[in-house]
Subunit: 281 residues, 2 copies
Amino acid sequence: MKSWDTVTIVGVGLIGGSVGLALRKRGLARNVVGVGRNQSKLRKAQRQGAITAATQDVEHGVSDADVVVICTPVESIGPFAERAARACPAGSLVTDAGSTKSNIVASVRPKWPREVGFVGSHPLAGSEKSGCEHGQANLFEDRVTVVTPTAKTSEKHLKKAVQFWNSLGSVVIQMSPKQHDQAIAMTSHLPHVVASILAASAGKDHLPLAASGWLDTTRIASGNVDLWKQILTDNQPQVLKAIDKFEKTLHSFRRALQSGRRQTVARILAKGKENRDSLGN
Amino acid sequence: MKSWDTVTIVGVGLIGGSVGLALRKRGLARNVVGVGRNQSKLRKAQRQGAITAATQDVEHGVSDADVVVICTPVESIGPFAERAARACPAGSLVTDAGSTKSNIVASVRPKWPREVGFVGSHPLAGSEKSGCEHGQANLFEDRVTVVTPTAKTSEKHLKKAVQFWNSLGSVVIQMSPKQHDQAIAMTSHLPHVVASILAASAGKDHLPLAASGWLDTTRIASGNVDLWKQILTDNQPQVLKAIDKFEKTLHSFRRALQSGRRQTVARILAKGKENRDSLGN
């Protein structure tokens, strides 16, 4: 397994903290530098063993990095990636863990120094929880990470990004930033919207009747509001398309139920069951 | 704890089987008679210890019952409840475990012999699984059972129904059949529709990106299609109202996202989070 001298993590929350814990537990990096704004959170991450050194200064934090992973909220990934790329050694890889890819990849690429490569990544290992204290060394094990090269990505940096996520235990899938954003709108962003609206729609007098079905279906509505506002706004065009598709099917279902077309009702339920059953529990 | 000489379960699937297992494990009934159409399933339930005797004949099966629990699919609860009520001893309680209440309670009540009481019940203990083999003696422990008396329900039979579900470990809530159907449309039937349509909307090329959020949100879409078709059809008026409410909020959300009104986006997400967080994991 490839190992690194220094990996720098910008943003040491649930994902960043888990990257650090995984690197340390697997003995993959001699130094894991954490960069963050909040000194007490950085100290906590260091005590937890997620990072070996901490700084509030991005340029200083990345100055020796073989790999920089930007794990901040979506809106600040682009700006941090640029600052990191200008300050880190020639030949380094800068990657990220953002839930959207097209805007991030487009915003960073053109301005970059030649010797530093940015490869957009998205480990599908989120949670409705946040904060380094919920981080886990095995968060990426057997989970998919999507790596999103473009025509301008060098083979060397792509290989390094794949190696990096593989080394944390992740299964890497490659697709374009746009393909990623389309698929993830259907499998993550739309479910988040739907779960939030389901949870928001239930009145206080209904909640005593919320059982395991409701709890499962709405679990991700507990996610951080500000992070999700950023994700949904950033991937707005694809999220709108996903909502449109969902609304259309929901409305067909509604009409079928209203007019007593039981076979149509059953057909939509059966299609959902088939897709769901194909993925196991 | 009140105990019974004979309890008869009509329909020995996941719920009926769990009623039997709970009665036996808690030593609450001397005889637990299972009534079903399929002899090999009845034999299996008997081997599993969910029932002590089995028959395919409803009238015969209920002839000594203190309590009859109808655990069949929603459409056949009314007809079975009537047959049971005509054949069971005077003073017995007939109840059910159906996911809808208004139609069932209305269909059974007027024709009944005076000495037998029907009290509609709904233990909120379903699962996306089905069959007695998935039954559990603790399925009702600390779960809510809604008991739905009407103006014509006698105190004696209501008390017996509450005692029965309490004795299985359930927390009993009383409400009218209509109140039940309104609330359960929001907390169970609408989530089922939404989960099914989410699952149905994901293309084969999207599914590799389905992670824990999608799996949680769509889990109940694995439920039995025929059972759910019956439930949604039976509670159609309330399900349509719940869909309308959901569609309206989804569409407000869509418009806010499209026009960049980030505060509205955040407000809807925050309302969902508040409701979801109020119920724990």
